[in-house]
């Protein structure tokens, strides 16, 4: 899932300073699962904003909505019927959702309430950790199912580096060395011969270096 972090209240308040009627839009997908922008978090942020305004003797009207997804047009359209009654939209979805709302409601200021951080997994309840960087050219078949791009702090394709000590990364002693994990897994799988193969220079044009990425399936287009 896409994992995000809630922005500090002060930052969000700064964005909507001067607005008295706002829509606070959550998203029922990734940000709900990582407890940052779902129904409950929308309620909490709305309550915080109201308390903060009231504390200073001011008021704010907040329309709380949680869209099924903010990355699909049909759900974003659900704001259409009441969007004109409000001055601005605060989105608790990932950056994709915020931008899609901005595209569809061009005359309405849209603000992000979360910092979109990474593609990750729920390691345990309340703990989310990065697993994928969306490089666009997966190497997991060669690395025992552990990603050297996301898990190695240097994204080395032929690791480990000299900073690996007792299975930990030099960047942070709490962080496992990605390449140690890969080697351990390859050993478990009896595939250490793969480790001997040198991975060639990666074509990063499939990643961010290639500019805006786009995927088209002609057979699905209307």
């Amino acid at each position: 899932m896409i994992v995000a972090n809630r922005k500090p209240l002060e930052e969000i308040e700064g964005m909507i300073k001067g607005y008295g009627k706002v829509i606070l839009a959550g998203c029922n997908e990734c940000v709900t699962v990582c407890s940052v922008g779902g129904e409950k978090e929308v309620g909490i942020l709305a309550s915080e904003l109201k308390l903060s305004r009231k504390k200073d003797g001011k008021d704010i009207e907040i329309k709380e909505v949680v869209l099924e997804r903010q990355c699909d047009q049909e759900y974003i359209e659900q704001l259409r019927s009441f969007v004109d009654e409000y001055e601005a939209i605060v989105s608790m979805a990932c950056g994709a959702g915020v931008q899609f709302i901005a595209e569809k409601y061009r005359g309405k200021p849209v603000f992000p309430a979360v910092d979109t951080s990474f593609l990750g997994v729920t390691e345990e309840q309340g703990v989310w950790v990065e697993r994928c960087q969306g490089c666009g050219s997966c190497v997991l078949d060669r690395t025992g199912g552990i990603c050297p791009i996301a898990r190695c702090s240097k994204s080395l394709l032929n690791g480990p580096c000299g900073g690996s000590t007792d299975g930990k990364c030099e960047v942070d002693k709490e962080v496992d060395c990605g390449w140690q994990l890969i080697i351990d897994r390859l050993k478990e799988l009896g595939q250490m011969d793969r480790y001997e193969e040198v991975e060639p220079v990666k074509d990063w044009s499939t990643s961010r270096d290639g500019g805006l990425r786009r995927r088209v399936r002609e057979d699905l287009r209307l």
């Binding site: 909490i44 309550s47 109201k50 308390l51 504390k55």
Partner: protein, 142 residues
């Protein structure tokens, strides 16, 4: 058993039911403080309800601090259903703390921070407090 009349007891089946949003909504409605009275740690009938409540209260403290209402306005207490005197003592303790802090700026609407002013108003007997207590804890005072 005497405890301040300004406290309103909200019964929940277990403090594990108490959510951060319940606490925030209470402040939105104008209460000056909230405390959660749960069973003793390790003695939750549902095993970990009071431990969950403890974490949520801590989280709510952070939110209140962020909002500018002061985290001290919310607290978690643990006591057994048989400790009526302790229940009253906690009620007084919390009332005193809130009186020190003054009324909620939400209620005064002006965000008045001056303690003297706040204390004067509190002594006027206007302060309200809300307590979210476990059923057993709430029952013990009746």
């Amino acid at each position: 058993m005497d405890y301040p009349a300004s406290i309103k007891v909200v019964r929940v089946p277990c403090t594990g039911k108490v959510d951060v949003l319940h606490i925030l909504k209470a402040f939105e409605s104008g209460v000056d403080g909230v405390y959660v009275a749960g069973c003793l740690e390790g003695e939750c009938h549902f095993l970990t309800g009071n431990l969950r409540a403890k974490k949520r209260v801590l989280y709510a403290k952070g939110l209140l601090e962020e909002v500018g209402l002061r985290g001290e306005r919310v607290e978690m207490y643990n006591l057994s259903a048989a400790e009526g005197a302790r229940f009253a003592q906690i009620a007084r303790e919390m009332t005193d703390r809130i009186r020190e802090l003054g009324p909620s700026p939400i209620r005064t609407k002006g965000g008045r921070e001056l303690r003297e002013e706040a204390v004067a108003e509190a002594e006027g007997g206007e302060e309200k407090k809300e307590a979210a207590g476990e059923k057993k804890a709430a029952g013990s005072k009746q």
